[in-house]
Structures are given as C-alpha cells and as structure tokens.
C-alpha cells in the first residue's frame, strides 16, 4: 500500500540488509576477529543474598591459559561507581559498584572475572576461584519486599521501596460513592526476560599509543552508551569509539552499560591487551536484565449502563536488586497512559516499585505492555459484572473521532488516533455476531470457544518536552546527516542502533522521499559512534518517528540545495518549479512534470568539483546535518481480536483466528512494519503462554535453561491477519507515528480476555499469567467442585 502523497514512502520493497544475513556473512560481535584477544568469564554468586567475605583466586591463577583474575576491589580503582539518581520525587537514588565489593544481591551476581587465552580454559579456571560467602536471608517476593521488617537489598536505602509515585486527578473516590457499582479486578503479570537469540557480548581493544578504546558491542543506543562508558572509565568521550554492527536482537536488553561490559573494558585497558566476552545462554537467563513482574489492581466506578465514571490503579513492581534503569519508569508510562481510548477524567494511580534479590529489571519490548491488559481486562470485568456485552461497554466509553484531540486525566494529549475505527474494523473482520452464534452452538456441544478483544493506544515516541515535564533528565531528539558524493551516491546516517528492525531499508525510504532518489540507492551507516551523529538511539518505538523524521527533514534540505543548484544551471528564477525524482531533476510545465537533462550526479559534480559554477554565495559540497525533536508524545493504536478454544479436560488453549487492525500512521516500509507486527504479537503471546522466570523462596533462579524458560516455537503460534490503517500524525514530518510494541500489548490483553470469554459459563476469570494448562485446569476444577460437577 502506498500513501497517495508519497512516492517512495510506503513502497513494498524487500530489505537491503538481507544478503549478508542470509549468506552467513553478517558481522555480529562474536564474528569480529581480534587477533590475540583474551577471553573473559565471570565468577557468579550461587546465592541470592550474601556478604562477600573473601575471594581466593590462587588456584585459578595457576590454571593453564589464565592471565589474571579481577574482583570488585580492582574495578573500584579503575572505574567510577554508578549513580542512578534522576531528580524525581518519590524515587530513591542508588549507587552501585562496578562489581560487588561487599555483598552480592542476586543469584548470578558477578563477583570476579577470569581472563584467559580461551573461553574453555577460562571456564575451567572460574570453577577454581574460591569465594567465601556469608549467606543472608533473601527477599524473594514483592510481598516480602514491602514488609518493613524484611532484609534490605540495598543497605544504603531506608527500605526496599525504591520508588513510590502517586497522583490523583479529579475525585475517583467520590465517583465510587456515586456509582452504581465499583468493579474491582486484579492482574498479576509474571517475570520474563527478553531472550534475544544472540546473547550479550563485547570486545574491548585498548590502543595504548593513542590512549583510545574501541569497544565492539551489540547495542541499541551507541552514543549514550559511549558517553556512559567513557565517564565510568574516567576517559573523555573522544577516547572511546563504540561499534555496533549486526545485532541478533535487543528488545531492550541491550541498552544500558552492563557491569560485565564495563569490566571487560577496564581490564583491557589495564592489561593493554584486547579482551572479549561472550555471554552464554545460562548466564543470559541468570544475569541479563529481566522484566514485567507486576501486581496490579483496578477499581472502576461505573453506572448501571456501564459508563466508566472513575478509575483507580495500584501497581506494585518487583524491580530486582539493582537500579540499572530509573525505578519510576513504570509510573511514567503505564499509569500515565492507562485510560487509553476511554473517556474518564477522575483517575488516580499509586505505583510502588520494590527491590528484591533477583536480577535488576530493564525495559522489555513494550515496557508498558500490561497497560492494555489492565484497561481492557477492566472493561471486560465491567461487562461481566453488569451482564452487558463487552463490545457495547467499549462503544459506550470509547473516544469518538470528534472528541479528539483528547486530554487524558494525566495531561497526556491523544491526537490523530483511531481506536473506534480499528475496533470496528477488527470486529467486522472476525465476524463478531457470527462468532457469538457459533460460540453458543459449540457450548451446547461441550466445546468452549472464546473471543478476546483488546484495543491498544501505544505511546511510541517521547520528545524532550515529555522528559522535562516528567522531571527525567535526557533528550528525545534525534540527529542525522546526509551526504551526496561527487558521483551522486547517497550516504546517510542517524543515531539509532539497529538490532534487526530493518533500518537500512525503512530509513532509506525516508531519505528517498525527502531527497527524490530510489531507496535502493540510499546507503545507511549505523552503529559506529565516530561515523553516526550523536543521537539518543533505539528504544520504544522511536525509530520511525524520531529517526525517520530527522532523516526525511535532512533529505528535504538536501533536495532543496540540489534544486537551487539545478535552477541556477537551468537559468530559472527560482527552484519552485523543480523536483528531484528518481535521481533526475524534473520541471513542472503546464501541470506536468517533465524530465530535464540534469541528474543528481551532474549537480553533485558541480557542487564538489566546480564550485564557481554554483549560485552566488552558495558554499561547495552536498553534506547536510539535521536534528529534530518530536512532539512530547506520539501514539499509534490498534485493536486485537483473538479466538481461542479452551479444552476443559487439560486446560490447553488452541488458537482460532487472530486479527489485528492497526493504525500506525505513515508507514515508511510496509514490509518492515508487517514484520514488526508479527514479531510483537508473537512475543506477547509467547510471554502470556509460556515464558516465566521463576525464583524460589530463597531467591534461586529456577529458570536456568531453555528447557525451563519456554518460548513459543512455530508450532504454537497462530496465523496473524493484519488490517492496515493509516491516519497520519499531523504534527510530525510525513505523518510518521512509529510502532513495534503495540503488538505485545494487544496480544497479552486479547489472549486473557479470550480465555475469560471461553470460560465465562464456568464463572472462571483468569487474573494471572502465564496461562498455563495447569493454571486453567485448576480454575476449571475449582469451578466444577463448587457446582458439584465431576
């Protein structure tokens, strides 16, 4: 589908990055050859919480191939501590050692690092490092963490409550008093991990002569990462280059500087030898950031007809042991956007984030994923308790187009979204009325079908004004450069970090549109901090809006200069009658565009090699730089409809159809966007069905291998039917909105709602995930027992 206004944006073109990836010629971190590099392997705590009494590496040092063993004490000399202290009310500051010096806080916490000539020998030596621990009682649940008598994960803090954010808008309590009913629901989301197929890894090359560190790492935010890395090593930013070429998935796990990575860099500098580290999968499950463990409660004040009068939200998040990211993040996102497409002005939230002796949390694709489950689960609960149709309840409360822009109770402004349209489109596509008929017939035969609905309003791109208003330091802008070479070749760059999203393709469309050349001819250079301009990197869904818009605007500047030169050459008064199309200058004559003799290459040659032929006062060359700050927030929206059958005997879920109507505004590359939609839905469904990081009561991680942490394979996932809608955002260049996380949000909500719909005759309501067969069968059994069935 091509947008009528655009020529290149929206074209269905296959990806430019495929050739090397298909033929095994990609350059992931572990593929980068560095002669004589040493290998790092970490000694990790077997205990969830323990004091480090002593580390004896003598036996390890005598093992073959071992060069050195470093500990927290060494790293304390070579690096600064980390201080996580954004000036946010209700957020406790935390300081962390590079490697723990006095105590470990989770099973897997790295306490020492063995450096050897190969990984095999390093692993042998790790086994010989003796660490003396004094085991301490562990905090293994959020309930325990909230108890003031519980052990403190960070003894510098007054309690395990790292963040407490509250806000009251309007008077939700008053609405409850006036309401026909207050519907209360709970939602318990389990702990998950990102599981990119490529684990973490890095290579540190220290050039002693130049006093310069070149750091190879797969990372989503190369420049901010470089800033942090340099700072922690007490180096100037000019002394550090970060290179991130091909990355085997990030999903939020490859953003902040990890302690292992900093250790590798520091050791390389200390030894004056290159050092590399490749995390293995067991370490990835044990010690890479995790996500999503929340317990939530909503209280919805409703009228007899199902109108939402007021809403209260409570969230408790188990944040793990370390604050690698600000602990208040959840408040900002989930609580702020919860009400989504519904009209309600009396709304309050209370968000508590607690520490526990588990891995520190990090944002995972759609960190706000629980939002749609909460809101849509609440709408279904309202329908259930009032005996109303769930679609009718949504229609009653959902924003109408004429009510936009709508300022949510929290002050967030929703504009250019189409929740009602996506909902109606998805319902029409699934055949809602027909389904209800079929459901009734099948129930009579003892087959339990269910339909789950979930409308998503996805916050995609955060502008600087958002951060400022939230009191979070940092910027939302992005930076780009574009250079047309003397031969007419087009090179471009932007500060994003590619981890599989097809930027080389989608961003080429943005440049193509702005400049007027075919996307196939635009070459993107990403991930190298000396080459790319300083940008904020890839997180959330900002790639399209922030990165795409910046490149588009930069390319427009380029086309402008090109046409000025062309106009001069053609002897025209100005360039308003010219455009560049497929690399050729065209002139508008009698309402028709006609090709001229001039190509981009001609103009470029002049600009570089014949500057005296340029217009008066114009400087030579065709090199452009641009920065762009998006609006404080942009939103995309979608509606997911999921059909399931629940087998009562086993609790197994079988998928029927899965339909999504998604409106993500202007789409740079429909091919890439569709891939993102599939991937996001898959991750949401996989998480809801299978994935679970389990810690036991003493903080032991029971999800140590891929036989324990299950992810969906090709056999478990349904076929996704996507209906694409495109309402442009009127405040971004080209109407780009961004997308890529909404699929996770929609899948989580739609699946749970579908299961509840299937089991409604039994009075079963699922309020926790994952939706394992054992969990569902347990609820079904209880229901039968209470009605005395077999």
């Amino acid at each position: 589908m091509s947008h009528p206004e655009f020529h290149y944006i929206g074209q269905h073109l296959p990806r430019k990055e495929d050739y090397r990836l298909l033929t095994g010629r990609g350059r992931y971190v572990d593929d980068v050859e560095v002669p004589s590099a040493l290998h790092a392997c970490f000694v990790r705590s077997p205990h969830a919480h323990a004091r480090i009494l002593g580390i004896d590496a003598q036996a390890a040092l005598e093992m073959p191939g071992v060069v050195t063993v470093v500990t927290g004490a060494d790293l304390a000399l070579w690096t600064t501590r980390q201080r996580m202290a954004p000036p946010i009310e209700g957020l406790q500051a935390m300081e962390m050692d590079t490697l723990p010096v006095s105590k470990v806080r989770f099973q897997g916490d790295p306490v020492a690092c063995v450096i050897a000539t190969d990984r095999y020998l390093a692993e042998d030596a790790v086994e010989q490092v003796r660490v003396d621990y004094e085991v301490l009682p562990a905090v293994s649940s959020m309930c325990q963490a909230l108890d003031p008598a519980s052990p403190r994960v960070d003894e510098a803090l007054p309690s395990n409550l790292i963040s407490h954010q509250q806000a009251i808008h309007g008077d939700p309590k008053a609405r409850q008093r006036e309401a026909y009913k207050t519907v209360e629901s709970t939602f318990s989301m389990h702990r998950q991990t990102h599981l990119p197929i490529e684990t973490r890894g890095c290579i540190a090359v220290w050039d002693e002569g130049r006093q310069h560190l070149t750091f190879h790492v797969g990372n989503q935010v190369p420049h901010p990462y470089r800033t942090t890395l340099a700072g922690r090593l007490r180096l100037s930013e000019s002394q550090v280059t970060v290179i991130s070429q091909d990355v085997g998935g990030g999903f939020g796990q490859k953003i902040a500087l990890y302690r292992e990575e900093l250790t590798v860099a520091a050791v390389a500098r200390h030894l004056k030898r290159p050092v590399r580290w490749r995390e293995d999968r067991l370490e990835n499950l044990l010690a890479s950031s995790q996500a999503r463990e929340n317990f939530c409660r909503t209280r919805a004040a409703v009228s007899a007809e199902g109108r939402l009068l007021g809403l209260e939200l409570e969230i408790i998040e188990d944040f793990g042991a370390y604050s690698f990211y600000p602990g208040n993040y959840l408040a900002r996102v989930v609580a702020m956007i919860l009400t989504g497409p519904y009209k309600v002005q009396d709304y309050s939230y209370d968000v508590k984030v607690v520490l526990s002796n588990k891995v520190g949390n990090g944002p995972m694709r759609a960190p706000m994923a629980i939002t749609s489950w909460l809101m849509e689960g609440t709408m279904d609960a309202i329908a259930r308790e009032l005996g109303l149709d769930p679609v009718a309840v949504r229609r009653l409360n959902m924003l109408h187009p004429h009510e936009l822009p709508y300022t949510m109770a929290t002050g967030e402004v929703l504009a250019d979204i189409t929740p009602r349209e996506t909902m109606e489109a998805a319902l029409a596509a699934i055949g809602y009325e027909d389904f209800r008929q079929r459901q009734k017939q099948m129930r009579a035969q003892g087959v339990y079908l269910g339909l789950g609905l979930c409308t998503v309003v996805e916050s995609t791109t955060y502008g600087s004004r958002f951060y400022k208003a939230a009191g979070i330091p940092g910027s939302g802008h992005e930076a780009a450069w574009l250079r047309i070479e003397p031969s007419g070749a087009v090179n471009a760059s932007v500060g994003l970090g590619a981890t599989g999203q097809g930027y080389e393709t989608s961003l080429a469309h943005a440049v193509a549109e702005g400049l007027g050349v075919a996307p196939q001819l635009v070459h993107l250079h990403l991930g190298h901090t000396d080459i790319a301009p300083y940008g904020m990197g890839s997180r959330g869904a900002r790639g399209g809006t922030a990165g795409g818009s910046t490149l588009y605007l930069c390319a427009r500047d380029a086309q402008d200069k090109v046409l000025l030169i062309a106009a001069h050459h053609l002897g025209l008064v100005d360039h308003t009658s010219l455009r560049l199309r497929d690399g050729r200058v065209e002139q508008l004559a009698h309402d028709e565009w006609m090709a001229t003799d001039l190509t981009l290459a001609d103009v470029a040659r002049t600009a570089y090699l014949d500057p005296t032929a340029l217009p008066q006062g114009m400087s030579p060359g065709l090199e452009f730089h641009k920065t762009y700050d998006p609006p404080p927030m942009t939103y995309s929206n979608s509606t997911h409809v999921c059909e399931v059958e629940v087998a009562l005997a086993t609790g197994a879920i079988r998928f029927g159809r899965y339909v999504v109507a998604e409106d993500c505004g202007t789409v740079l590359s429909p091919v890439v966007v569709e891939g993102q939609q599939h991937g996001a839905i898959a991750m949401g469904l996989s998480g809801s069905l299978f994935e679970h990081i389990v810690y036991d009561e003493i903080g032991q991680n029971l999800s140590g291998t891929l036989a324990d942490y299950l992810v969906a394979t090709a056999h478990e996932l349904p076929h996704f039917e996507i209906i694409s809608m495109h309402t442009p955002n009127r405040s971004t260049p080209a109407g780009i909105k961004g997308m890529a996380e909404g699929g996770v949000m929609g899948a989580i909500g739609a699946l749970s709602n579908a299961v509840n719909d299937a089991l409604a005759p039994l009075g079963v309501v699922v309020n926790e995930q994952p939706l394992t067969p054992m969990y569902l069968r347990g609820l079904i059994r209880k229901s039968f027992q209470s009605t005395n069935k077999a």
């Binding site: 990984r119 095999y120 692993e123 042998d124 086994e127 293995d280 999968r281 067991l282 005997a649 086993t650 609790g651 197994a652 299978f690 389990v694 029971l702 291998t705 299950l710 969906a712 394979t713 056999h715 478990e716 394992t772 067969p773 054992m774 069968r777 347990g778 059994r781």
Partner: protein, 288 residues
C-alpha cells in the same frame, strides 16, 4: 558453556567398544546422538574423563524381523524408526510414538539406545519398551544379558546398565494383526517431553476386549506398565463406557509427585483424560 575436558575414543567395532568400556570404567560415558548427553556435558552436569563415540558402529542401525519380534539396533535414529515401513506395519504403536519425539532435527540424530539409556520418565521410547514388553539386549566384555524393559528402568534417569555395558538392540513383540493401538500424549509445546504419555494396544473379538496392554509415562520415576492393573477389564464388552471405567480406575491408582510446575492432581486428571482417549481410539482401530 563449554564442557570439562575429556579424552576421546572412537572405536571401530563392537569388540573394541566393549574393551574400552571395561578399561575406562565408570568415569567414561558413551555418546551416540548427543541430543541428551551433549547439553549435560556442555553444562558440566556430566564430567566424564573419557567419551566413547559410538557413531561408527553403523552395524547397530537396523530394523529387522526376527520371528515374532521386531529387532531394532541401538544406534537406529528416531527418524529411521518413524519412517520404517516395517515398524509401521508390524508395530504401529512404536511408529506413531517415534514420530512424536522432539522435532525433525532431533529425530535425525537421537538414537533408540540413547533414549533408553537416558531413561527420562516421560520419553516415548522407554514407554514403548515397557508398554509392549520389549526385551533389551545389553552387552559387555563379560558377555550379554537380556533384560525385560520393566527391569531395565530403575529410577528417573537411571537404568540397570553397569558402567561397562552398552545396549546392543531391543526386541519389540510384533503387534497382532487384529490389534488396535493408540499413542496419546500432552505437552506444553510441540516437541517437549510429555507431561503424561499413554500407549495402548487392544485386540477385540466380537464386542469384547481380549487382550489389553497399557503403559503410562510421566506419572512416576519410570514408565508404568498397567497391564496387570487392567487385566480385570479384559474379556468384557469394550465400548465407550468401558473405556471411561478403565481410565478412571487407572488414574485413581496413580500417585504422582507434586511438583512446582505440575501438581499431582493435574497429572492424575491428565492421565485419566489421555487413557480414555487412547482406549477409545485403539478400539476404533481394532474394530476397523
């Protein structure tokens, strides 16, 4: 995760293998397909000093009829068993079960001998061996033994093999031409070990079940042979109600462990559901 160091041996004949097993003792491990042992080695859950690679013993990869038995060599890959016309014809329950092991890639490598020696309580081939009353021929430099499947599996992941023994072949009794069979199982995801698995063979004469074999995997430390338990149900009219009754009786007799992920009550219910399903399906096939 890299394995701990080991010395490597690749015998070219069975005799050489047995000599090495005798010499190296309990600190050695044999490797065939490597699908189960490989992960254990890489995670250092197993740290043998010596690894004996059986893959050159190609004479142990075969399926052949020997009288009223089907003899399958220890090194036969799951894919070969699943694709064998002979197995499908003479022992269809085994063929059906083999097709469900793991997924395509695993079946190219995993072996019958490896699966039996690994002795996972929920694995298909140990369950088939027990259900069908197979005989397992085990050899060493001291000679050979033939063990009934029920005697071979001692506990979860533990068999009667001594450290100098290896499995040579397994003999499965052929199923009767009149017999119907069914393999039913349930897992979280395709290719995972079953939570519970059931194998049934039944022969019908007129309306009555005259011969019934039933085995359950995943409900205890070893596959459970329920043949004795279901004997009272033989020589009776075999219909849907009969199947329900047998399934109930079997599940009530079970006493699985309560586990974090799978409560005992769930396993019992699952066994009930799967046994009933298997009986109904086997009856249908028997009556065809």
């Amino acid at each position: 995760m890299k394995p701990a160091a080991f010395a490597y041996h690749r015998p070219e004949s069975i005799e050489e293998t047995l000599r090495q097993l005798a010499a190296l003792g309990s600190s050695a491990k044999v490797i065939a397909g490597g699908q189960s042992l490989g992960p254990m080695l890489n995670m250092r859950l197993a740290t043998p000093s010596d690894l004996i690679d059986l893959n050159d013993l190609t004479e142990l990869a075969y399926v052949r009829e020997v009288g009223d038995m089907l003899e399958i060599g220890a090194l036969t890959r799951h894919a070969q068993i699943a694709a064998s016309r002979l197995v499908l014809d003479k022992c269809p329950l085994l063929a059906h079960a083999a097709k469900t092991i793991g997924h395509y890639a695993i079946r190219q490598r995993g072996t019958l001998g490896g699966s039996l020696a690994h002795a996972d309580p929920a694995a298909q081939l140990p369950l088939m061996a027990v259900t069908l009353g197979a005989q397992i021929e085990v050899i060493s430099s001291r000679g050979k033994r033939i063990l009934a499947a029920a005697d071979f599996f001692e506990s979860a992941m533990s068999t009667a093999l001594t450290s100098d023994e290896m499995i040579k072949c397994v003999r499965f009794p052929k199923q009767g031409a009149q017999e119907g069979s069914s393999f039913q199982f349930f897992n979280r995801r395709h290719g995972d070990y079953a939570i519970v698995a059931v194998g049934v063979t039944v022969a019908v004469q007129g309306e009555c079940a005259v011969r019934l074999r039933l085995g359950l995997g995943g409900v205890g430390a070893v596959p459970l042979d329920c043949m004795d338990m279901v004997q009272p149900s033989v020589d009776r009219v075999a219909d849907a109600a009969w199947a329900a009754e047998v399934a109930l009786a079997v599940s009530q007799a079970l006493n699985p462990e309560d586990e974090l992920r799978v409560p005992a009550v769930y396993r019992k219910e699952l066994a009930h559901t799967l046994v009933e399903r298997a009986l109904v399906r086997a009856l249908e096939r028997a009556k065809e």
